[in-house]
Symmetry: C2
Subunit: 372 residues, 2 copies
């Protein structure tokens, strides 16, 4: 059916609420035009019972109605443009065909919005709606959002976070399905996370393979973030991957710049320091793209060119990575894929507890030059 065929026909108000919906004057006569048709209307028009209509329209197996009856019901439903009333169905069934997405600020900031894309994608495939709430990291807001969702009897909950951290969630109703994306919580067994160890390893190898073992610098070492799961549970793994690659190759970086917040200006400052120190740097592992962006600004100011003089590899595949000249080689944070995974896990009938890692694919672009 097409929604566009619904129009209000009178402006009458009954019981303080408008009820006057109906079909555009169309080919079918004898239809009550004052309100949305119900099962009873379809039943009347088909000359059968509500039970029969419900059975047929939901084609329940085992209900043995004559082919004629089935045809009449379908015809009547089509003619009346019947759509079931979601509230009534929810009331009866105890489920709503709706899931909730609660995050700190995934939806409302630009960084991880691809996560929503993934979520909505799968939800849509499964004819499921998504209710959204953001907490801005306030426990009060979280409690409120949760209460709202539970009251609406959502069929499941997805918890998301901007940075992959440990979340403090209240205990959920035990029958409530839930998945965390880009975060973990002791109260939710199923979690979807980016495969950071692999990414750390891949990024580092990319520079090592290009021959930068002798002049490698790390821009953005973050010991605090590494050790505090409330800041991140995955940064640690990213560094583990980096170190595994270095260890394997027997390489020690010529410089390691430490700072916890990864914004362009920090990358700029840190890289400036490295350059001023005179360390013989030929390759930069920047801990994210914004840091890499700042690093490049510092290099440019020094008259150094990427990748001719210094190569850069990085993490995230932020918008900025593709705007840079040269475009940045970086390990992509797979937000969309994580969103898809989460929704699939949530909607799947069986449980799938545990950590589900999603690969961070290396986007190889032009910021690395092979040496000699």
């Amino acid at each position: 059916m097409s929604v566009s065929r619904w129009v209000r026909v009178t402006t009458g108000v009954a019981n303080g609420r408008p009820t006057a919906y109906g079909l555009l004057s169309g080919p079918h006569e004898g239809v009550d035009v004052t309100k949305r048709p119900t099962l009873a209307d379809v039943a009347a028009r088909a000359g059968l019972s509500k039970t029969a209509v419900s059975l047929v329209l939901n084609d329940r197996p085992g209900s043995r109605l004559s082919a004629d009856a089935v045809a009449r019901i379908h015809e009547a439903a089509r003619e009346l443009n019947y759509r079931p009333n979601a509230a009534a169905r929810s009331l009866r069934l105890g489920r709503t065909g709706t899931v909730g997405f609660i995050s700190d600020e995934v939806t409302i900031t630009r960084f991880a919005s691809a996560m929503i894309r993934g979520l909505l994608d799968i939800a849509d495939e499964q004819e499921t709606g998504v209710l959204i709430a953001e907490t801005g990291n306030h426990p009060k807001q979280l409690a409120k959002a949760l209460e709202f969702m539970v009251d609406r009897q959502v069929d499941g909950l997805v918890f998301g976070a901007l940075t992959a951290r440990l979340l403090e969630l209240p205990t959920l109703p035990e029958s409530m399905r839930a998945v965390t994306v880009n975060c973990v919580s002791p109260t939710v067994p199923t979690a979807v996370l980016p495969s950071e160890e692999q990414a750390g390893y891949a990024v580092t190898r990319q520079l090592l393979d290009a021959g930068h073992g002798a002049g490698l610098a790390i821009i953005g070492n973050a010991p605090v973030a590494q050790s505090d799961p409330h800041i991140s549970v995955t940064i640690d793994r990213r560094f583990n991957g980096i170190h595994r690659a270095l260890l394997e190759a027997g390489v020690t970086p010529v410089a390691v710049e430490e700072f916890e917040i990864w914004e362009p200006w920090h990358g700029y400052d840190a890289t400036k320091r490295v350059l001023e120190s005179g360390a013989p740097v030929t390759g930069l592992i920047c801990l994210n793209d914004r840091v890499a962006f700042g690093a490049q600004q510092a290099l440019t100011e020094r008259g150094l060119r990427v990748p001719d003089d210094v190569s850069i590899a990085s993490f995230d595949d932020d918008e900025i990575a593709s705007y840079m000249r040269p475009a940045l080689t970086t390990a992509r944070l797979p937000y969309e894929e994580m969103g898809r995974q989460a929704m699939e896990l949530l909607l799947r009938p069986e449980d799938s507890p545990g950590e589900h890692l999603v690969e961070m694919p290396l986007q190889v672009r032009e910021s690395i030059r092979p040496l000699g």
Copy 2:
């Protein structure tokens, strides 16, 4: 109440659906622990009728219950941790306390996610939930989303778009409240748009006031976008503002670069062309920040510095505008404020048809140098 107090107590399943919810073993005895309490449970505990409970809990004016009765009901509700069943209420009331947000790709791309922030902000204040759907510009998806929302009996609809264009929407049920944000539709009378004329004027004046009248270039003239409302209904106004300022000052640009798609590489190419043409350019009006970013890359490659040699002003206040060195002076696209406005208009009881313009504030940063 706190949601965390709900836990499943048995794993029993009735009618094929789990119903076993209850209070954590707490201070109150004699409460049925097997399911969410209903009005009837509260009534029983308070020794009154369902009617009385409903009346009191919704504190309907004109219902004259004794102070004692009111107290008993509140107490019982609190003890049982009663929360009304949203589906039942919707069924009865015909409204849901939920609005729908349908857009092409506002939620799922990074550009306009602040719009959602504004929407959710206000929705939250008004205890309203938000159902989200994205159409990716497919009419099929749009119809599906609309149908879904109408079926769920949302109390209103917000239509959003990434670029401020004319939308083709099916006729809505006439009683359905609706607002468009950053887009317009003949079927929806209330629209929220950015105040582009004012922004065009302000940006241009900023360069003129700094003395760049003699060396002004426009990077990103877009005649097609200007004249096709399906691409944009506001770009036109942006140019009108620019031209009004120029006309007023009696200024003719020394160069006008035309291209319809405003990505960094286009800005880069266009600026390169201008520089190669030898036009005596001292100030660039870039039609968005990404174009400005590309322009700066071209300038830098030519050994020209911003703002020392060339000044830049731009539109949008994209992420990138604040990352650039120097940070970019730009007229902010007020997505968040537009979102707030839209939700306020939607939730307001009276209608407010017409166009609601939201100011685009000029973010004055360091990319403009006053000429001697």
